[in-house]
Symmetry: C2
């Protein structure tokens, strides 16, 4: 007996997502709990995988099982598939385990041919509807299955409308639609050399295969890569009896969310169109009306729908995204799934559902993702700046995805992608978007469309990815060919700056100042819950009082990385730093160091003051000294030019300048390194030039002593970077401990301080037991640790090959974004284990960029770090991820029992 | 009771080297077996360490024990220490566990003062001898203990000789010597402000302390660093009754080796001087006579000495280095130790002692060191070249240390060190050398002295370090101040090229061609024994047929690393390589690759032919492509110049040239990398530009197929460099296996080939189990693995901080020379273990420079590698080290039982 490839809806349930896909499992579940779902069945995801494994052929017995399932539908509905007298039409839709909206193919009205047309006209009594359905079917099927481009059909249809002087599709009469259908069939014959398949079974077989194939179309692959959906799980195919929203004015179709997916407010949110098929709503061809109007237009159906919404939300305990159709006054549910939501909505829904008693705090915390919080933490338009200057928006559209964005206008997805990838901030402006635009949307700061509603493609995708979006901004006229849009009298061309406010729908033809978000209310509640669950502490990377304050507001529990050299780059200090480096003797060097001591002390005082009561980890100077000097290339050019000039004019002033520049060039050349990342930096600098770190330590301790006297609780943790051998630490730490002692003795006060090290050199991890004998804490510098463990110079790799590595799946992910657990993570795990064996109280943290990445934070939790440290704006995300890690742990413990 | 600090000679034996030092233990042993040794005792090395631990103070009870031991000497000899009637004089000598010749201090004739002088004159009946002894004592003691420079005393003595018109020290009469002694004492008073200590016990106490202190003088520290002698083992102090070789013509002193330490020949080898103290022989002040003359001068003493030599060699089963003194016709042994020997001598002695039945093969192999073999493998003067051109030496001295050397003449140790360290080949030319010169000698290719015998300081040190040396070349007149030497009519100044032949004593005032050594005879026998014991196979790194042939002659069993890109740098290929890189389209690139294919195929054919029957590991292209392009700096300078020129003249030819250069500059700039070592190179290149490695694989396989058809046994092993993630290997290996299959199919022949990878990225080692699923062999690239594990860019580290790290003992050794077992080695061990678990037949080797380093080879044996690969000239050393590792293993197994 062949495997079971097909499940009737009544055979499945919501737990079977792996096999039936999300859509199939939910249709089955809705059937099971007695909701009005048109009957149907699902071809499993396993069948799709078998199709690929089989070299692109159906596994044995598939079509037999499909026929049997269709027979069941026929008997349930009293209709016949291909039966001219009372034809059964079906929809064929993709449906993977994870929602991939619009990425794969769908075919509606399948089963129509010259015979069933006649039967359907008889059965529906509506010739216009039938030819319209046939028109759509031929176009969709030909596009998806036969590879005849949709726009060729649209051109024919538009020509017909023009011929008749008609604007709206709905105004085209039946006879004209019949002619259009004939023209369509002629087009197919011309383009393919074959006729359109009229056998419904052949149609069905080809449609199923087309859905399988659409699993691997380009846009689906791009989407999966972005969403980190595996490539090998396949899609299911859902075949369902058609119901029609376009049979007349007592018909309709719509989409709705059980709560507002943009704000999270508990109110039914959606749109519908009477006398339309679902695609009309989603594609933004006609502008739909709010769901609330249905209460007036058809109170009974509305009440039924509201009851179903309530029931589904209670059933699934999450916001539901629903599709429905009304056929001759009868409501049918075509789809339900967890609703994609904006960050603010995710937070509000999670918090309110806990308050409503629907879900637990643990569940609530698992419903909110890092990217949800990231949206909340998006910048917004500075209202004061705008009102002070009397700036007015040039247009207003729908507030389709919240947050504000500034970028240069770009009018096609490819350009948006290209510029976005090299770091330009772009704003994608389109008439409307479609699934082929996704790669460009992902690289945009924001999206602006002239057409489409809040559930249009642009709006859904933008919300899904947390990209600000203004949709349906009908005041603007987009000319994609000329790369400009017009609004009123003004024209905005490609490359000009635009600001959109996705929270209000406003569009500004200029760059506006954006400000940090104000986070409170539901956000605050959720963050409080995070803190109840998490074990990991969360610190921040901050080099100045301003960032420190911001991080505190976001809940930081200390500074995990304060980079002292950032202070050296300030314009008032750089000359002193250069004097120190270029000093011709010890006296000059000492003088420069003394000046730096004073300014660094002031820096630390500011930070300690803000961080009162919390630990502050200060990393001693790390970059190679040549980073503080002028560029070699620049100097070389200058010297070559000066030499030529001096040869020709021979002035003494010129000669003196040349000599100076030549001397500087020589110095810079002497300090040049083949691979500065692995050269004279970090602790190596401290060994060779001990004066700098002695000065820094003195500055830290003087600041600390001073503030302690003023009653501030100062907890400095001095961190020595780039240690690879315990002896480096032994030598340098000993010298600095002496400085710390001296400074305290001078000040006659004691400060509780620690000395520790970065673990960022593979050898440090491999010898963590030796290093822990001296270091009082470890802080994983996973940026450098990743560089050295992979042998990747990040500067070079990201421009030259890393992107290709990720695209070709040589690497599952960019290891500079998410910790490579197998390699880098193995070193970290080993260092924590062996370090803590030697020094049981060893404090372990992470201060690389990975400290703000959720997957990496889970890993840090798992290997027993004490804290993560990340940029101020990632602190709330880290708190959430830390809580999620702890909750997963509990679940695991429970399962293990 | 205080610890035992003092051992009489009769209380010790040869096994107590740790406690008594080498000299003390051997004096005890000689006493024990009844040889004529002047009585004495040893202050232990532990006492020296206690002295340092005690902050530079004697541990309790030391001087009491010394007094008791002296009392024993007094009673044995019937003399009294400080007794004016019959005074006992003693020598005070250092003696660490490992011989450090001349590095620490010695004081003779201790116990002399105004009273004992008189007694000694009475006892010896030789006033001149006594004042001469006193002169020496005051000078030595003042130099060593009181810090009054020796040369100040020498100046006074020289003035006295000039005043008297006397040349030879021995001609200075007693009265004059007495005056000199008075002048010396006056000098001491003037220089120190204190008088010379006349209390013999005070003298003894100060002398013991001075020896302790000399453990940490600069030259001793330098020597220990070079010889890898630990700093914490301390020195013993040997106090021994004086015997005198300078009491008259029936007295003498000498040094001898039981075999020739230069050639290894079994013949008594040494020199002596009648009526002299030991230092006269060693310091080269008077030129001593060969030991054989003693047979005529004093046959009885000679016979006794020969018998002692035979007995000691049989006792210690090794060549002995002996010091003796004849006092009034009576022979005394003052020292015996294992003799330092040249490489050729070490090999010959080891082989002949096995043949004589004295030692086993295992012992013989452990007697020979890598540096011994290195000397054997030293180049020698090409005799044909010399005789063809009729080149004559300008001078001839003593053949003091074998091998030939070419270098620029340098006249002081500091300059020799400075130039040597930056890679200049220098020849150190000195009148005579002393321990302060060692740092410069170590950096020299060869050493030439005008004075001193074969046992002079220069000769001993040069032989010890395997540096060619011509000593006692009295024809040359060295002017160290003017930095030149004169020989006949010609003058050789600093910086001019000189060749010496340390095997013949010839000196040439020009650069001569040197040729590779001819190794056979004892060397061949020893190498054969190595092969009986070793488990590790030895391969070579070779990129061409010539090196391959050389390595085969030295016993290589295959090629472990053939670097394909070296072939790209050949002048006839570089333009093609540049065409390939700069190709503007695929056709141009393909055309360049096709040209390279032909030349690479020819390269491989040549190598395969030579290596018939042996495996050849070929590494695919590794360096970044920009290495093949002109330098950015050069181009930038040219472009700046051209721009200025074009502005002024405006010629079209100039403009065109400028445009070309600008385009090239732009290309080179685009390929520039911040850290090229970790950028687009190795397998990453193969992922991004698969054409190059496909071409290389095709060239390898075509060459192999062609030769297989001609009956050659070809075993190619294609190696993919810089793999960090298994997927890199998965992708690239699959492509190349396809190329290999195609090529074999075209040629209609099968070749047994392997695909494998370098393990040189930490991540590769950490994920070796995954990688071993694809790789059929691992080759550890320990150069890069060390770079990444330490985060050291070798190019930068060695110039900027690594030397200081080694000098400051932050690192025990340069990790690019000897594998860092704790860090890098841990990764290697883990990779071998985990790789072999997945693929039991996984072949593991090493191809970094460490493959020729003995310590590293021991480690490779220990972790179970299958082979090491090194440069052709290191192959014999690798064979020896591999055998030593295997023998150590046996010993360990025996001990474990």
């Amino acid at each position: 007996m062949s495997e079971k490839h097909v499940y009737l809806f009544q055979e499945g349930d919501a737990s079977m997502r792996d096999l039936l896909g999300g859509k199939g499992a939910n249709l089955a579940e809705m059937s099971k709990i007695g909701l009005p779902v048109p009957p149907g069945f699902t071809v499993t995801t396993a069948t799709c995988n078998a199709y690929y494994a089989n070299g692109g052929r159906f596994p044995e017995g598939l079509m037999d099982q499909v026929r049997a399932a269709v027979a069941k539908l026929e008997s349930d509905l009293g209709k016949g598939f291909g039966d001219a007298a009372n034809p059964l039409l079906v929809s064929v839709r993709s449906g993977a385990k994870f929602s991939m909206p619009g990425m794969m193919d769908t075919i509606l009205n399948l089963g129509l041919n010259e015979n069933t047309l006649v039967g359907l006209i008889a059965a529906s009594g509506n010739e216009r509807f039938v030819y319209d359905a046939n028109r759509r079917f031929i176009m969709m099927f030909s596009d998806v299955v036969l590879g005849v481009e949709k726009k060729k059909f649209e051109r024919l249809f538009d020509a017909k409308k023009a011929e008749l002087g008609i604007q709206q599709d709905t105004d085209v009469p039946a006879a004209a639609l019949r002619e259009v259908c004939h023209e369509f069939l002629a087009l197919v014959l011309k383009e393919t050399g074959h006729g359109f398949p009229s056998d419904p079974w052949k149609q069905l077989e080809l449609a199923v295969e087309a859905v399988f194939k659409s699993w691997n179309n380009d846009r689906a692959i791009v989407y999966r890569r972005t969403e980190k959906i595996p490539d090998d799980i396949g899609t299911a195919v859902n075949i369902q009896a058609m119901v029609f929203g376009n049979l007349g004015e007592d018909c309709g179709t719509g989409v709705a969310f059980t709560r507002d997916p943009s704000t999270g407010e508990k109110t039914l949110y959606g749109e519908y169109l009477m006398n339309a098929q679902g695609e009309d709503v989603v594609a933004g061809v006609r502008t739909p009306v709010p769901i609330s109007q249905l209460a007036e237009q058809n109170p009974a159906v509305y009440q039924e729908f509201v009851a179903i919404c309530d029931r589904l939300e209670l059933h699934y305990k999450d916001i539901q995204d629903l599709e429905f159709t009304i056929e001759r006054g009868r409501l049918f549910m075509l789809q339900c799934r967890s609703g994609k939501r904006t960050g603010p909505a995710a937070v509000r829904i999670a918090v309110e559902m806990v308050e409503e008693g629907l879900i637990s705090k643990e569940e609530a915390l698992q419903r909110v993702t890092a990217s949800h919080l990231d949206q909340l933490l998006h910048p917004r338009v500075d209202d004061v700046y705008v009102s002070d200057r009397g700036i007015k928006p040039v247009a207003k559209g729908l507030a389709a995805s919240p947050g504000a964005a500034v970028g240069i206008a770009v009018f096609d997805a490819d350009t948006a992608e290209k510029l976005g990838k090299i770091g330009k901030k772009v704003l994608l402006v389109r008439d409307e978007t479609n699934p082929d635009d996704v790669h460009g949307m992902l690289q945009a700061q924001g999206i602006l469309t002239a057409r489409g509603g809040k559930t249009s493609h642009a709006a859904v995708v933008a919300r899904g990815f947390g990209i600000p979006c203004v949709a349906g901004c009908e005041e603007i006229h987009v000319d994609e060919h000329e790369k400009l849009f017009k609004v009123g009298d003004s024209v905005v061309r490609e490359g000009e700056l635009v600001t959109i406010n996705g929270s209000t729908g406003e569009v500004f033809a200029q760059e506006l100042a954006l400000i940090a978000p104000d986070v409170s209310g539901h956000f605050g509640t959720l963050m409080g819950w995070c803190d109840e669950f998490r074990r990991l502490k969360v610190r921040t990377n901050a080099d100045n009082p301003r960032d420190s304050r911001q991080a505190l507001d976001f809940g930081a529990e200390g500074i995990g990385l304060c980079r002292t050299e950032h202070m050296f780059f300030e314009p008032d200090r750089l000359p002193i730093v250069r004097d120190m480096i270029l000093a011709s003797d010890e006296d000059e060097r000492e003088a420069a160091l003394a000046k730096l001591l004073a300014v660094q002390q002031a820096d630390f005082e500011g930070i300690f003051q803000v961080m009162d009561g919390k630990p502050v980890t200060i990393r001693l100077i790390d970059p190679p000294l040549h980073e503080f000097l002028p560029s070699f290339d620049q100097l070389l050019s200058e010297v070559v030019e000066l030499r030529l000039a001096a040869q020709m004019t021979g002035g003494t002033a010129l000669k003196r300048l040349l000599e100076e520049k030549e001397a500087l060039l020589k110095t810079v050349e002497g300090m040049r390194e083949a691979n500065p990342m692995m050269g004279l930096r970090g602790v190596r600098l401290s060994v060779v030039f001990p004066g700098i770190v002695a000065m820094q330590t003195r500055a830290v301790m003087r600041a600390a002593c001073k503030l302690v006297k003023h009653g501030v609780d100062v907890q400095p943790e001095i961190m020595i970077p780039l240690v690879g051998h315990v002896n480096e630490l032994r030598v340098v730490q000993k010298q600095l401990e002496k400085v710390a002692e001296e400074t305290q003795a001078e000040a006659e006060v004691r400060v509780p301080f620690l000395f520790g090290t970065m673990i960022e050199i593979p050898r440090a991890a491999l010898t963590a037991d030796e290093i822990a004998e001296f270091a009082q804490f470890f802080s994983f510098g996973t940026n450098d640790l990743t560089q050295m463990t992979f042998g990747f110079s990040r500067d070079d790799a990201e421009g030259k090959f890393l992107q290709q590595y990720v695209e070709d799946k040589i690497l599952p992910t960019n290891p500079f974004e998410t910790i490579d657990q197998r390699g880098v993570g193995r070193l970290m795990r080993l260092a924590v284990e062996e370090g803590k064996k030697v020094r049981s109280g060893l404090k372990c943290g992470i201060c690389g960029e990975h400290g703000g990445d959720p997957e990496s934070i889970y890993f840090c939790h798992e290997i027993g770090l004490d804290y993560v440290s990340c940029s101020p704006f990632r602190v709330p995300i880290a708190r959430l991820s830390a809580a999620q890690a702890a909750i997963r742990d509990r679940v695991k413990v429970t399962l293990d029992k």
